[in-house]
Symmetry: C2
Subunit: 120 residues, 2 copies
Amino acid sequence: MEKPYFNGIECPHEYILALKDALNVTTGKWKLAIVSSLLWENKRFTDIQKMINGITPRMLSKELKELELNGIVVRRVYDSTPVLIEYELTPSGRKLNEVINTMIEWGLNHRKQTVEELVG
Amino acid sequence: MEKPYFNGIECPHEYILALKDALNVTTGKWKLAIVSSLLWENKRFTDIQKMINGITPRMLSKELKELELNGIVVRRVYDSTPVLIEYELTPSGRKLNEVINTMIEWGLNHRKQTVEELVG
């Protein structure tokens, strides 16, 4: 996969914007953890909280609202008794899986290369 | 590309570490801009500075040192007259191209989907 987004001289404004959008969602201590927790199934607030070590309800609430505003997460309210509220990834949020995978692949390779250089 | 890094229940520690390594290099205002500026050719300090709007020499120096420590950039000193100092990406730094491309692809798609939802 070799796409010429950069030509070494300049980078079109739309690519910069696209990159900033992606950074906006990947940056920070919690956002990718929240997205990951929703990749396999929709979850309620307390279920997400249980999956993420150390996040306070206040932080989780703030982050979920930001992810909603950015079109990554949808908050679903089901008219049942008691009312069920679930969080679901949008198609775009689900696609973040690809970004996460590429990052993990890069990180695994980076560790391997760095260790190899240290060893000789 | 569907890799099962997450199984929805837990994520092995090495994947978390790999993801953190990647986030460490992609997060922040300047790091990806510096990496991008070196993707096509090695550059001198002042050339990098010219390519990146708004970065101060002090910030650039700090970021380059961090990228060096993290094994992303190598500082090359050539014994010429005058002495030439260039910055070069390591193989691992070069591979960040794939992360950047995946992020741009995600961002372009995200904008398209968000606009489509707003329009209808």
